[in-house]
């Protein structure tokens, strides 16, 4: 059995991240990659798919169910164990920090599993970065909306021209060494309290 023939199952409560991990593994040459989302009968599905390696997000509540497979090997044909390279605690640490956990069929050589776990770790990081960038973009948009609203309130209630309202916000922010959006929020709160 070649490396690419290993059957890999990705279990993730976040379907977007599961897709990112799956794509990473496929690009790395693994052809037998499946995904399952959150489900009550996970154990039955895992047994039906009989994967060699399971990649599951560390926070997934289904992990407790999966761990039972260590205990009831009588009931499963393919006992699994957590991927633990005893010589490389650095790798375990990196996986846990990235939010990745991995389970493998007993007896599978570590050298064959390591690249899979490494791919998963790097994909989890990439996904986090993408999400952070998206969140930042959304936060920037929200900030801009706050400033617009504060400007509008100043124009309407203090009779300022638009550029003067903006200049006032900026000046106050600089003087108090605070973010423009914070000042805008204070202005909005102040007006909301008044009316």
């Amino acid at each position: 059995m070649g490396e690419s023939d290993l059957s890999i199952l990705v279990i993730d409560g976040d379907p977007d991240r599961a897709a990112v991990v799956e794509r990473g593994l496929v690009e790395a040459g693994y052809v037998r990659v499946s995904i399952i989302g959150p489900s009550v009968n996970m154990l039955a599905r895992v047994q039906a798919l009989a994967p060699d390696v399971i990649i599951i997000d560390l926070e997934n509540p289904d992990r407790d169910t999966l761990e039972q497979m260590f205990q009831v090997s009588r009931a499963v044909q393919r006992p699994i164990a957590m991927f633990v390279d005893r010589s490389d605690s650095h790798m375990i640490h990196a996986a846990i920090e990235a939010g990745v956990s991995a389970y493998v069929v007993d007896g599978l050589k570590e050298a064959r599993i390591k690249p899979i776990v490494e791919t998963a770790i790097s994909r989890f990081h990439a996904f986090d970065r993408l999400r952070r960038e998206r969140d930042d973009a959304q936060a920037k948009l929200a900030d801009r909306k706050l400033v617009e609203r504060a400007k509008g309130l100043l124009m309407k209630n203090r009779g300022l021209a638009e550029e003067d309202a903006y200049a006032l916000l900026r000046k106050t922010a600089m003087k108090q060494n605070r973010k423009l959006s914070d000042i805008a929020q204070s202005v909005i709160t102040a007006f909301e309290m008044e009316f």
Partner: protein
């Protein structure tokens, strides 16, 4: 040590009360520390993060630090320290309303007797299923290494049911139990509150035995620390223990229970309705859909030395792991292993400034007392401990 931050992981269960109260009511701040409470979704995540240093401390299943310490369950061994327990009680066994009706039918006498006897009715249902060629019933607990697992197995075994052959035993995360029962994936489970009362409230389950019916002294959650962390910072460890002990005292007081229920109802903590939490904490739960509330004190946070880390209780857990094929700890080594992890010496030293009476001994024989009773206190006098009789009538002597 001013304003030291301790990252503490917990699962959404009523017994996360102790760390939550320590944080919310200022007991941690009074000891000069800030608790950074992190809600986790699974025991596996708590174990991994605690073992590898992403958490400093955890509200954790009593057997789990022992399992981590011994390197059981596919993990490399990491030395652990348990300086205190986080209370007794709260677990119960719930079955689906369909199975409950079958139990009543199969053995009305056992079902009318003391609650723990319900397993005898289950034995008859299992025999009937087997005779009819039906598949075995499925039960779930919250983790392989949990008091729930040992309580459920003890209840089954008390009626001569073999937990490994006569039923399917699985694992489901606490917050998913009710949904799994409602959808018919499992026929019953053993879990901490509020996840039993929630099934009753939704009309999908009935409580057939409580932890108090099975073994009221069974250890529940403990404070888990890496030994390296505790050894490096003995003063911080002691301060953490004191903050949590004072929080447990507060949580135990009857007059604080409604306020505690409201606190835990926060979505950041347990996040179920305050009604259910008040019912569980008020000691008058409804155990079956449509039934009247009955007196049942199941949440003991401080009384009866509920925070004291008895080495004998850890030895009992190791005996259960061995009995059920999870570990092979020879009987002669049990006490030594238990004493490496569970540290009543750290507990006594930490609470000394609080002037609390604590047990003089680290070990207690269990099984003889059906009622609260007194044991010798360190430095003279006595302290009251809870009932410790087993459903099976057995006696556990840690020295044997």
């Amino acid at each position: 040590m001013a304003d030291t931050v301790v990252t503490l992981g917990f699962l959404p269960l009523i017994d996360c009360a102790v760390p939550v109260v320590a944080h919310e009511l200022g007991f941690a701040a009074a000891e000069g520390l800030t608790l950074d409470l992190q809600r986790e979704a699974s025991w596996a995540a708590v174990r991994d993060k605690l073992a590898f240093g992403l958490l400093d401390a955890a509200h954790i299943l009593a057997p789990l630090p022992l399992a981590i310490h011994l390197g059981l369950g596919g993990m490399p061994a990491v030395a652990m320290t348990v300086p205190m327990a986080l209370g007794l009680g709260g677990n119960a066994i719930t079955v689906s309303t369909a199975l409950y009706a079958r139990l009543l039918d199969a053995d009305p006498e056992a079902m009318a007797g003391p609650r723990g006897g319900s397993a005898r009715a289950l034995k008859r249902v299992i025999a009937a299923d087997r005779a009819a060629g039906r598949p075995p019933l499925s039960f779930a607990t919250v983790f392989p290494f949990s008091s729930h697992t040992y309580e459920l197995r003890l209840w089954l075994a008390s009626a001569g049911i073999d937990p490994d052959r006569d039923v399917n035993l699985g694992v489901v995360a606490p917050a998913r139990m009710v949904e799994s029962l409602a959808s018919g994936w499992i026929d019953g489970y053993c879990v901490g509150e509020p996840w039993n009362l929630r099934a009753v409230q939704r009309g999908v389950g009935a409580i057939v035995a409580t932890k108090g019916d099975i073994w009221p002294a069974s250890p529940e959650k403990v404070l888990g620390l890496r030994a390296e962390w505790a050894n490096r910072q003995p003063d911080l460890t002691a301060a953490l223990v004191r903050a949590l002990v004072r929080a447990a005292q507060w949580a135990d007081a009857a007059e604080n229970r409604d306020a505690l229920a409201d606190l835990l109802a926060d979505p950041g903590y347990v996040g179920t309705s305050p009604d259910i939490l008040r019912m569980a904490l008020g000691g008058r739960p409804v155990l079956r859909p449509g039934a009247a509330p009955e007196a049942l004190e199941s949440h003991v946070f401080f009384r009866w030395q509920a925070t004291f880390p008895w080495v004998s209780r850890a030895a009992w857990l190791l005996a259960q792991m061995t009995r059920w094929d999870q570990a092979a700890v020879p009987a002669v080594e049990r006490l030594a292993v238990a004493a490496q992890v569970w540290r009543p010496d750290l507990y006594r030293a930490a609470v000394a400034p609080l002037g609390l009476a604590v047990p003089a001994e680290d070990l207690a024989v269990a099984g003889a007392a059906a009622a609260p009773h007194a044991v010798a206190a360190a430095g003279g006098g006595s302290v009251e401990v809870g009932p410790d009789a087993f459903l099976t009538g057995e006696v556990f002597d840690p020295r044997r």
